[in-house]
Amino acid sequence: MDLQQKLNEIFCEVFDDDDISITRESTANDIDGWDSLSHVNLIVAIEAKFNIRFNQKELLTFKNVGDLLKCIESKI
């Protein structure tokens, strides 16, 4: 399973929707329920599943799934 597929699974779990299919261009506007509160759940879940930590500055640069993937790739 590649990184994007693994991340997709986390999205499905966090947003409680098995039909989610992320792309590198996906943003909060493409996924129902992705708001500032559920974003915290998403970040906590990604950190735990990949065993990584994001710093505050990195969190502010995520504009889409591509940014998120790039940052995860750099840490694993």
């Binding site: 129902d32 559920s38 915290v40």
Partner: protein, 539 residues
């Protein structure tokens, strides 16, 4: 807004009556999708689309007094469904799109809803609980092209088959209309039922407080799951034929200011949490914008701290007027407004015809500068009718001709009211009232958790944040994995808004001798304060 021929129907007044005034071609709303695509709907479009929806419901056998919910993010279908249901005298309940299974089941089950309008991405949640909902006959899905079964229907197919024309039955003032569920400190959420007469007050306050008039472009950022989203995102402005802006995306400072400038918004109604988020942005951002069209900014949902008012004055060159009302009041009761000197931090003064009082727990009417229960003399037009299926809860809120709001406040010598807090344990986070009981119940469904107690703690951004105290069963230890499990469980069972911002593991939850969680003790412990009288604490 005039009542013509005793027709109080909200759906009719907000659409057909406006068209009959010669405003058919006037934009009713500029719809800006989450991807910033713009569509303009005029009042004729709004009238016809809501007519089609009313006809569609009628063809499905919906009758006056039956209940339909919308469970949608902000979309045009939200408005058409809401107004169409009301035209048919079907009661329309609105649900936040971030509700989880338990929150949905509590509301749909209590209301014995006959139908729900939703999106495909929310179907899984509804299907998971549908076997507990024998009254639910139809799930109407906005983003599928064809009916899936007799139960799961396509909104688009229904609308294609329905006529543009519908004659709204004459609707007496007391006909039930809108249903919003609200949280208390104990028990399940209560269904606050309104009547079509509420439009009198919602329309009046839209004109007299929000200062809406014919040429205005109005943007109310509230979700339709919230009473502000229906009272002032739909009913108040459209009853006056006002053009609105509705945006389908979430918070984004730059996008919001693009919208304010590019759509020529003249009056903006938002919430303190959003305004505080804007306050945290680099002030340089705002210098790029021409907001000369924007005349007034209003706020609702939580107390507006003076810092935000000062920020708006220095950064935007505008005042922000804080307004106060509740789901039960249906419309603005106490408010700051243009022409009234702002006393930063105060709720403002009562609307004409609204009679608040500060009342002690023993029923005594209190003088100025004394803190007590904030109450409103009953009988205002937008007052709720009842709590659905819960007359005893309604009766407990009405005493000696006053509605007890659950807020505590002080009135100063100048007639301004000042919010002091809640008289119960309800948590106000980002303008949403959250029941600690609901969060505690969701937490207890997790097998690792033995006990839980939930409080609201002060927060600079959200006004209050949710803090959960958790006692684990002996054989379990706290871990990152368990934290995720807890977060996702609460988020997916209750709602993302109800997810605790802090989770604190403790050895036991303080309870009184009859087993009631002593949230007061938890709160004192969290704030490092004296917990006061502990004589009732369990050994």
């Amino acid at each position: 807004m005039k009542i013509i021929n005793e027709q109080y129907n909200i759906g009719h007044i907000c659409t057909h009556q406006i068209c009959e005034l010669g405003l058919s071609d006037k934009p009713a709303f500029h719809w800006i999708s989450s991807h910033q695509e713009k569509t303009v709907y005029n009042f004729r479009d709004l009238d016809f689309a809501s007519n089609r929806f009313a006809n569609a419901l009628q063809s499905l056998g919906f009758k006056a007094g039956e209940i339909l919910f919308t469970f949608l993010p902000k979309t045009p279908e939200q408005f058409f469904s809401f107004l169409g249901a009301l035209k048919l005298q079907v009661i329309c309940g609105t649900l936040f799109s971030n509700f989880g299974d338990d929150a949905l089941l509590d509301r749909l089950g209590d209301a014995k809803a006959k139908g729900i309008v939703t999106k495909k991405s929310f179907l899984t949640k509804i299907k998971r609980i549908s076997h507990h909902l024998p009254s639910l006959k139809y799930i109407i899905v906005t983003d599928i092209n064809e009916h899936q079964s007799d139960y799961i229907l396509s909104y688009q197919a229904l609308m294609r088959e329905a006529s543009d024309y519908f004659v709204t039955p004459i609707t007496p003032a007391d006909t039930p209309s809108v249903l919003h569920y609200t949280s208390g400190s104990t028990g399940k959420p209560k269904g606050v039922l309104h009547a079509h007469r509420s439009i009198l007050h919602q329309s009046r306050t839209a004109a007299e407080v929000l200062n809406l008039s014919n040429a205005d472009i109005f943007w109310c950022t509230a979700d339709q799951g919230w009473v502000t989203g229906t009272s002032y995102g739909i009913i108040g402005p459209w009853s006056l034929g006002i053009t609105q802006v509705h945006y389908g995306g979430g918070y984004d400072a730059k996008l919001w200011f693009d919208l304010l400038q590019n759509e020529g918004v003249t009056i903006w109604y938002s919430a303190p949490t959003a305004l505080r988020m804007l306050m945290r942005e680099d002030a340089k951002l705002y210098k790029e914008y021409d907001l000369s069209a924007l005349t007034h900014i209003f706020s609702v949902g939580e107390p507006l701290n003076p810092e935000v008012i000062n920020w708006a004055r220095s950064t935007l060159g505008k005042d922000i007027y804080d307004t106060w009302f509740q789901t039960e009041t249906g419309g603005i009761m106490i408010t700051n407004r243009p022409g009234l000197e702002i006393r930063p931090g105060s709720m403002g003064t009562p609307m004409d015809g609204i009679e608040p009082a500060i009342i002690a727990d023993n029923g005594e009417l209190l003088d100025n500068n004394k803190q007590g229960n904030l109450c409103i003399k009953i009988g205002w037009p937008s007052m709720f009718v009842t709590y659905l299926n819960n007359e005893s809860a309604y009766n407990s809120k009405i005493k000696n001709g006053y509605y007890y709001t659950g807020d505590t406040a002080v009135r100063d010598d100048y007639g301004y009211y000042w919010f002091k807090g809640r008289s119960d344990d309800v948590i106000n986070t980002a303008g949403h009232l959250i029941s600690p009981f609901e969060v505690e119940s969701a937490l207890l469904e997790i097998e690792e958790i033995a006990e839980s107690g939930v409080i609201g703690a002060p927060d600079e951004l959200l006004y209050e944040k949710i803090v959960a105290f958790v006692h684990l069963h002996k054989q379990f230890n706290w871990s990152k994995e368990l934290e995720i499990k807890v977060r996702l469980h609460v988020s997916n069972r209750a709602s993302s808004i109800a997810t605790p911002q802090e989770i604190i593991i403790i050895e036991s939850i303080p309870k009184n001798k009859s087993g009631k969680i002593m949230r007061r003790v938890l709160k004192s412990r969290y704030l490092g304060q004296d917990a006061g009288d502990l004589s009732t604490l369990e050994d």
